[in-house]
């Protein structure tokens, strides 16, 4: 039997979900819509009513704030929400006062039990039921006894506004039945035949037929259309076809709606898993559980309904919508799998056929690569199996091999032509090599560009590791799941580094289109950026918070070109004991899969990331989307750290893109591996051997376990409820051999797999636009005080507190400098500082830099500026510039175009130049190419070249760190660094709508000296506050320091270190020249401070005041005079959702 238990807010309790959705719906143009929301649980098992009642009462509902309704699926009682959860306006007034007397006082449990009906005659129930009034109808299988209805329309005590009829499943008309009376809420037709076989209301057979027909939820292939009406077996509006027969199907008539949203079969449903286990803990046997969301809306037309469902309530990539009554009898997914070996006749294929195979098989390999595979199998004299082809496609994918950037590139720029044999090797890696050579015995790098994350020394006991990944394409299709699994995936990177590092903090950087982009400008196949934004933040929040890893640093960048291709960068820092830094699988070791089970999720994620997104991507690659289960990963983390410390394995790696294929193939590349695929634990039946092999199901790691440690490992895992399974063995064959139930399904030479990919030669060119000077009159037209407000309120600069506070940034107890600082805990910190070892004051500093706007002018200076920004953010809080490690993450458009690839090469050259000059090593990096969206019509939209530089700094004693908020009036304010007229790509240009100008450059030698001198000053305790100058330059930095400290400042531009010819106050205020800081210094420390900085440009530009005003003068005249409240409001408000 399949039961449904719905949980509703109790009477008098706010329906927070419904209210929030109604507000979001207003954004879609559905103004005034009312939505009632409930969550439901579908519970399958041979259960009687008392058991369901117990499950609802003891487990699913909170009797203080919730009420429940339970019935067999399809029962009419489930079609109408009970009283309670009143509308938003009314709730608001109620919230102000303590809970009023009208709050649901539920009947005592005993009373319910006493009057309980025998199961067959009372199968529907609710928490507020008065069973004595339950109607009994002969022959009626499921009499409705849901006294939630007793108070419905008009009957509500206390003269409250009656429940609007719009919330019942039908609109109006003669069928309107008063609940609690003889007739259940019937006319909500439960007929399956499209509304024509209408049941007569009151006949007492509303459910005729539903019981005898098995109806499964539509499988994904049946429900690909984003139109909810087609998702449902029931035509829209069928609920009331007897009333408006002639209008059925004419969607222009607004009607109330009941909408169910369910995860598609096979999609991860963590709550259902937990619920199943918890019900069993009650001693009740159940077979399966699935959750659902349920909404009742005020009248909508079909078009509005479609909009609401597709844009707000459900995501077609992972969810299905069922309108009207839910009619299904069983929860089941998966059919038994019948083994059938599939081979692909590649040997006969010509070029056109090879290209078609690559595309339609979602291999996304180039023609030369397909030819190499064909030739290999021609030599072997056999055709490949599908598993072999998939393994090659995954191993050779851009995502896993970075073939573009490690390939041969012939590059041309204004300096001439240069040929790279391995571009990354000769730029980024080469910088690290050079830095390490120069450090000699003082080299503090441990393992760079080798393992899953870069590793550097930290203290006597520990190394630290850092990895930043992107999860762009999945997040474009399903923001919550994409970001969720993005953070989940990158957490497994440190965990899979060395013998396993403990994750200690996360970083998140996002790029979106502006959230106020008009709906009309959203191409088909693209989610609205606001929805993407909210979904991504929620995905990161729910995973990071549940894992207990503080999210301490990040940035959000807005540009219209991210519309079809949002970027989601997730990073994780880990702490690795020094003696656990290296791993090596040994021949004879068992291949052990630990953690989550394997399902059909994420098939083709690795190869999909090589593809351009189109409006059809969600149809093509919906399987690439996954939902994570952070608790599974947390449990995995807990046992793995214990297993690591007990020495139970030789090597570990994560199952990320490419699943087992990638993990086992990579781990065994120097040995050989044999895998027995049927042993992998599956979420459900029906997976083919190839699906098992390439599934990217989350929360899995692969270990190389010596046979004599297996028993202990298995026992340890079992003791904490983590599944561990031997799926194969590393064998010294040099081959990757896969078997399924004894059948050989793949047998590849490791050498060909890892070295057989043909090297590609690509052309790259880059010629930056010559900079066009900004005419002086443009400056004169601009009003500095207004510009300052506009920049503070611009999306990139404004406060991200709405996001930051949703992340737990203090868990693990090591927080030192938080992301929000200052007197009111709301100023923008330059970097985060934390103590990973609670008994020590040695600290880590985490910051980032990114400025895609500069890349529009010259990607060289964009990259140089990003490094400078990341480093100066670290230095500003006190990091030692001799111990800053860098990470690069390139997100670019389609690098098949020579000029796009050229812009990337040019950025990589800048990385080399600046990193070597600053003597800071790159320790890890990642690239994501082909970030373009191809709309139905028109040109592809490419993202702007986007290089994220993450910086991991260290500080000897965190008690010497400083924050950016002004501290005391009377202190001096210094500007450190050199200002040029560098307004190209600036935020002044952005808010004033002016292009052109010189892009900010970096003088790395000067920058290095500035960083060292400033660090000395901070280290010596001479600096009270320090803030870097970035978007918006001096004026924005000064404003932020002032309102964060709740203190004013009076500054003069006249003394700023600059070329003599630079006399334009607008430039001095808003230029974005690099390597600059504002410092607050006590008068008594000024002498020492100035002495320390003697060999770098600096000037005392003003002082801190107690008046809440920021005043900036030029030649004695105030050019900016703003009160702190308005500055702060402008900054706080735009994303204060």
């Amino acid at each position: 039997m399949l039961w449904e238990v719905d949980i509703h807010p109790a009477e008098g309790q706010p329906d927070l979900v419904g209210r929030r959705l109604a507000a979001d719906a207003a954004d879609l143009g559905l103004v005034g819509l009312e939505i009632r929301a409930a969550v439901g649980y579908l519970i399958q098992g041979a259960l009687q009513l008392p058991q369901i009642q117990r499950i609802a009462q003891e487990l699913l509902a909170d009797s203080v704030v919730e009420q429940w309704v339970a019935a067999p699926v399809g029962d009419p009682v489930l079609l109408t929400p009970p009283a309670g959860g009143a509308d938003g306006k009314k709730q608001k007034s109620q919230e102000k006062s303590p809970k009023n007397e009208e709050a649901a006082l539920l009947p005592p449990e005993g009373e319910l039990a006493d009057t309980m009906q025998p199961p067959l005659s009372a199968t529907a129930f609710s928490s507020s039921a008065k069973p004595s009034s339950a109607p009994q109808q002969p022959g009626h299988l499921a009499p409705v006894s849901c006294s939630g209805h007793e108070d419905v329309p008009g009957d509500k005590p206390g003269g409250e506004k009656p429940m609007p009829p719009l919330f019942s499943a039908e609109e109006s008309g003669p069928a309107q039945t008063k609940p609690g009376e003889e007739q259940p809420m019937v006319p909500a037709s439960c007929s399956r035949e499209g509304g024509s076989a209408q049941t007569e209301p009151g006949e007492g057979k509303p459910l005729s037929g539903w019981q005898s027909t098995h109806q499964k939820l539509p499988q994904p292939e049946d429900s690909r259309s984003p139109t909810p009406a087609q998702n449902s077996a029931l035509p829209v509006g069928a609920a009331d076809s007897s009333v408006l027969p002639s209008f059925v199907g004419e969607g222009e008539i607004p009607r109330s709606r009941l909408i169910h949203v369910l995860p598609k079969p096979g999609v991860m449903d963590p709550v259902a898993q937990s619920t199943l286990a918890a019900i069993r803990d009650l001693g009740i046997q159940v077979e399966a559980v699935r959750t659902l969301k349920k909404y009742w809306t005020s009248p909508l037309t079909d078009g509005q309904l479609d909009l609401l469902c597709t844009k707000l309530l459900a995501n077609d990539a992972i969810e299905q919508v069922v309108l009207g009554p839910l009619r299904l009898e069983r929860l089941e997914i998966g059919q038994p799998y019948q083994f059938r070996l599939i081979t692909v006749p590649i040997r006969q294929m010509n070029d056109a056929e090879l290209e078609r195979l690559s595309r339609e098989g979602q291999l996304f390999l180039s023609l030369p690569e397909m030819r190499a595979i064909r030739d290999y199998f021609q030599q072997l004299g056999r055709d490949p199996t599908d598993a072999e082809l998939e393994t090659l496609a995954q191993t050779w994918s851009e995502h896993c091999s970075h073939k573009t950037l490690t390939g041969r590139i012939i590059y041309q720029d204004p300096d001439g032509q240069r040929t790279f044999e391995n571009m990354l090797r000769e730029t980024i890696f080469a910088a690290t090599d050079q830095v390490r050579r120069r450090l000699g015995s003082a080299d503090w790098c441990v393992s760079v560009f080798e393992d899953n994350a870069g590793v550097v020394q930290f203290d006597e006991q520990y190394h630290v590791v850092f990895k930043v990944e992107t999860h762009n394409h999945p997040s474009a299709l399903e923001p919550y799941g994409g970001a969720n699994t993005g953070i989940g995936g990158v957490i497994r990177d440190p965990l899979g580094t060395g013998l396993g590092a403990k994750p200690i903090c996360n970083t998140d950087v996002f790029c979106f289109a502006p959230p106020d982009t008009p709906m009309a400008e959203i191409p088909r196949g693209v989610l609205h950026p606001r929805r993407v934004f909210k979904g991504v933040v929620a995905g990161v929040r729910d995973y990071g918070n549940r894992m207990g890893i503080p999210t301490v640093n990040g940035a959000i960048y807005f540009d219209r070109r991210y519309l079809g291709n949002p970027l989601v960068y997730c990073g994780t820092v880990g702490l690795l004991p020094k003696d656990k830094a290296h791993k090596e699988p040994k021949p004879g070791d068992l291949i052990v899969a630990v953690g989550g089970r394997t399902g059909r999720d994420g098939i083709h994620g690795a190869t999909f990331s090589s593809a351009e997104l189109t409006h059809q991507s969600e149809l093509l690659s919906g399987g690439a989307v996954q939902i994570g289960n952070p608790i599974t990963e947390k449990m995995l983390l807990d046992v793995l750290l214990e297993a690591r410390d007990r020495g139970l394995y030789h090597a570990i790696t994560d199952c990320g893109a490419g699943g087992f294929s990638s993990a086992v193939g990579e781990m065994g590349r120097h040995i050989g591996a044999e895998v027995w695929l049927e042993r992998a634990p599956l979420k459900y039946e029906g997976l083919s051997y190839t699906e098992i092999w390439i599934s990217e199901a989350q929360e899995r790691m692969v270990l190389s376990v010596p046979p004599d440690k297996w028993d202990e490992l298995e026992e340890l895992c079992r003791s904490e409820g983590v599944e561990a399974t031997v799926i194969g063995q590393f064998v010294p064959t040099g081959r990757l051999t896969l078997r399924y139930q004894g059948h050989l399904v793949a047998d590849l030479d490791m050498e060909f797999l890892h070295r057989g990919r043909p090297r590609l030669t690509r052309q790259a060119v880059y010629f930056p636009q010559p900079s066009t000077p900004i005419p002086p009159e443009a400056y004169r037209k601009s009003n500095p005080s207004e510009v300052l407000l506009k920049i503070l309120g611009s999306l990139n600069v404004c406060s991200k507190h709405w996001v930051i506070r949703q992340y737990d940034h203090e868990v693990q107890g090591g927080s030192v400098i938080k992301p929000l600082v200052g007197r009111w805990n709301d100023g923008p910190s330059d970097a985060a500082v934390l103590r990973p070892v609670l008994s020590s004051y040695r600290g880590l500093v985490i910051a980032c830099g990114m400025n895609p706007r500069y890349g529009d002018l010259d990607t060289y200076h964009m990259a140089a500026s990003a490094i400078d920004e990341a480093v100066r953010n670290c230095v500003a809080v006190g990091a030692d510039p001799r111990r800053i490690a860098l990470l690069d993450n390139f997100c670019w458009g389609n690098t098949d175009r020579p000029e796009t690839l050229g812009s990337l090469v040019r950025a990589a050259i800048a990385c080399y130049d600046v990193a070597t000059a600053l003597q800071m090593p790159f320790i890890s990096g990642k690239d994501s190419l082909n970030n373009e969206f191809r709309p139905e019509r028109g040109e592809p939209i490419a993202i702007p070249p986007t290089l994220l530089i993450s910086a991991l700094g260290q500080v000897e004693d965190v008690r010497r760190c400083v924050s950016m908020d002004l501290k005391e009036s009377g202190n001096f304010v210094y500007l450190v660094g050199w200002t040029e007229e560098e307004m190209g790509g600036s935020h002044w240009g952005l808010v004033e709508g002016i292009s052109g100008g010189q892009v900010p450059r970096v003088n790395p030698q000067l920058a290095g000296t500035i960083f060292h001198r400033l660090h000395q000053a901070i280290h010596q305790g001479l600096v009270r506050a320090c803030h870097d100058l970035s978007e918006g330059g001096l004026a924005v930095a000064a404003a932020e320091m002032a309102f964060a400290g709740d203190l004013g400042a009076r500054l003069a531009l006249d003394g700023m270190p600059r070329p003599e010819t630079l006399q334009e106050p607008m430039v001095l205020l808003f230029s974005e020249s690099n390597s600059r800081f504002l410092c607050e210094v006590r008068p008594e420390a000024a002498g020492d401070f100035e002495h320390l900085l003697a060999d770098i440009p600096f000037a005392r530009v003003g002082e801190v005041t107690s008046e809440p005003i920021l005043e900036i003068t030029w030649q004695g005249r105030a050019v900016v005079q703003s009160d702190l409240t308005s500055l702060k409001q402008a900054w706080l408000q735009p994303l204060d959702w």
Binding site: L16, V64, N545, R546, Q812
Partner: protein, 286 residues
């Protein structure tokens, strides 16, 4: 007497166990993290401890509702043991998720005559997780953990921390019994237990009566939403950088004028506010 032994309960999804154990150790206790599966296998294990602590986190993912599944496990399998534990004069502390578990397992407040919970912790009015620092006023009956403490400045980090009593009578009964021991307070001005709801974000979740923490009628069980273990060291305080460095103090001719009075604006000198709570627990057994 030997150092009191603390059982820090760990369940799938618990994630503040390490720093909570550290806080207890720093206060002078001996803390051990124990998985709930071990305790379910052998409930008698708890007898060797003097303090039972359920730390923060997302036990079982907070699936269904925050703390619900772990609370059910405790209610079904460990309730008697914990009752005995407290009756024998021992202490129980629940922080954040641990507080949610203590409330929902009926350990902290006995159920009504009808077997229903007296109160719950439910979704914040903002309906989202929020991490922010709050000022707390201590009031009500004596509670071991809060002895000698009038005011605390601690961070909250939760999505489901809104305290709601079953009805107004229950709320009044809890209040007059002095069990509503921790209240969110206004950030500025003299410390007061406000009779009215104070506005967001000072009351970060809309809790009735501004309740941030509850104790039981013995004063030996405390549950609270804020995280005392996150304010142990002076550098945890969000404003610690506003204090002068040792070097500047040396340079200064005069001491800086202290900031206005509330503790949230007065960075601690020696230790974080939260540590006092753990020290009280240890001192109780001294």
């Amino acid at each position: 007497m030997a150092l009191p032994r603390v059982l820090i309960l760990r369940a799938p999804g618990t994630n503040c166990d390490v720093e909570t154990a550290f806080a207890f150790e720093k206060a002078g206790a001996k803390a051990e993290r124990l998985h709930v599966f071990r305790l379910l296998e052998n409930p008698q294990l708890c007898r060797t401890y003097q303090i039972f602590c359920i730390p923060g986190g997302f036990s079982y993912g907070d699936d269904i509702a925050a703390g619900r599944i772990l609370a059910n496990q405790i209610r079904l399998h460990l309730a008697d043991l914990l009752r005995e534990f407290v009756e024998s004069g021992k202490l129980i502390l629940g922080i954040c998720n641990g507080f949610q578990v203590l409330v929902k397992s009926d350990v902290l407040l006995p159920p009504t005559q009808e077997g229903l919970a007296q109160a719950t912790l439910t979704w914040n009015d903002s309906r989202r997780f929020e991490d922010r620092w709050v000022r707390l006023a201590v009031t009500g009956r004596p509670c071991v953990f809060l002895e000698g403490i009038q005011e605390l400045y601690l961070p909250v980090a939760h999505a489901e921390g809104k305290f709601v009593a079953r009805d107004i009578a229950t709320l009044q009964a809890l209040e007059s019994a002095g069990l509503l021991v921790l209240r969110y307070a206004r950030l500025t001005g003299p410390l007061r237990v406000e009779s009215q709801l104070i506005p967001y974000p000072e009351n970060p979740n809309g809790s009735q009566a501004n309740v941030a923490g509850l104790c039981d009628s013995t004063g030996r069980i405390l549950g609270l939403m804020p995280h005392p273990e996150r304010h142990i060291d002076p550098t945890h305080h969000p404003h610690w950088t506003r204090r002068l460095s040792a070097r500047l103090e040396g340079l200064s001719a005069h001491c800086p004028s202290p900031e206005s009075s509330p503790s949230c604006f007065r960075p601690p000198a020696a230790e974080g506010d939260g540590l006092r709570l753990f020290k009280n627990a240890v001192r109780y057994f001294a």
